[in-house]
Symmetry: C2
Subunit: 209 residues, 2 copies
């Protein structure tokens, strides 16, 4: 392997090993020693790539932010109707969280950091605004029932997504997060969408594995 | 004030002052010094009632457990139809959390303790079972639409309640928790209840204050 590729692979191995620990234990209880043992690396190799445990956490938080930004952008470009795009984003988020420990760790670290800064508008504010935006668009197209308040529905969907993630993370390392999110969509969307709109097939609740 | 009444009042003052700090800062960042300053008490007065900061936290966790047990029992005895009892419990929980910092602190401390013990079934498991029980009863009475899965609805309602509490706690010290919970009930229940059942009036979403 050329030297540069090897350096990239080592950096990824560190991020992955750290993510496994952060995801399970959180920031405080994760030790650098355990991360190195998991990655099979020396301290020297580690410090070539990162200056501290905090620097690895920074990289994971940054990466999850980029992942969500790309996902939002991609749904924006896809040209689906707004309710379908909303369902698609929720389902894709849960699928990714369930499949990718690096993403999961970044989300947990980011949430824990935000929890330490009361008063600072957190990621949930961003998501509530994003979701409300899609719902306002849906209302304009006549895809919401009369009298449905897009901001209120956004609050319910984002609350349910946050709660689903936390319970799923605590009980199954997010393995059942995709199912739980699809259940949320299935219990809320038909209640607020006008009669003509249908839940996309791939977003209906799948059977528990 | 008789001596015994004064002792009870001092103990309550300590619990209240500690709750104010725990609710805002969590267990780790709360200092006994700040609690004493808030309560206007000496260390001597404190140690007459509690052996440590942890002992105060224990008392708050225990008290919230008793509060919820009493509330569940009271709804069980009230003889409402199961969906109305469910809505009533959710709304009452949010009203109490919003009004009572002692309860709110106990719930936060309890959740933080549970988060430190992965693998131990937490309070959310108890609530999901309780809610599913009410929904199974509702299904038996024909109050749920055909094909609605009580356990799936219970997961969605409990996830939404947890997420609502966390977002509301982080942004408004639970002031908007009652509104958020009523929004959740209003967006989910009409979707799963059969045509005959109606959301009780007191559980409909009130206007933001």
């Amino acid at each position: 392997m050329p030297q540069q590729d090897r350096a990239v692979a080592t950096r990824e191995a560190i991020l992955h090993a750290a993510a496994e620990e952060f995801d399970r234990l959180g920031y405080e209880r994760t030790s650098l020693t355990a991360v190195l043992a998991r990655a099979g690396l020396t301290k020297g190799a580690f410090y070539f790539h990162f200056s501290s445990k905090e620097a690895v956490a920074d990289a994971l938080v940054e990466r999850q932010g980029e992942t969500w930004a790309r996902m939002r952008e991609s749904w924006r470009e896809r040209g689906a109707d707004p309710l379908s795009a909303l369902c698609g984003m929720f389902a894709e988020s849960a699928d990714r969280m369930s499949a990718d420990v690096v993403l999961r760790a970044g989300v947990r670290l980011n949430a824990d950091r935000e929890a330490g800064c009361p008063g600072v508008p957190g990621t949930h504010v961003l998501w509530e605004k994003l979701v409300a935006g899609y719902l306002f668009e849906a209302a304009e197209r006549g895809d919401l029932r009369a009298g449905v308040d897009p901001e209120s529905v956004a609050r319910t969907l984002c609350s349910a997504a946050l709660g689903s993630r936390l319970i799923s993370s605590a009980t199954t390392a997010c393995a059942d997060f995709p199912q739980r999110i699809r259940e949320v969509l299935g219990h809320v969307l038909p209640c607020v969408a006008s009669g003509d709109w249908e839940l996309p097939g791939s977003q209906t609740a799948s059977e528990p594995a």
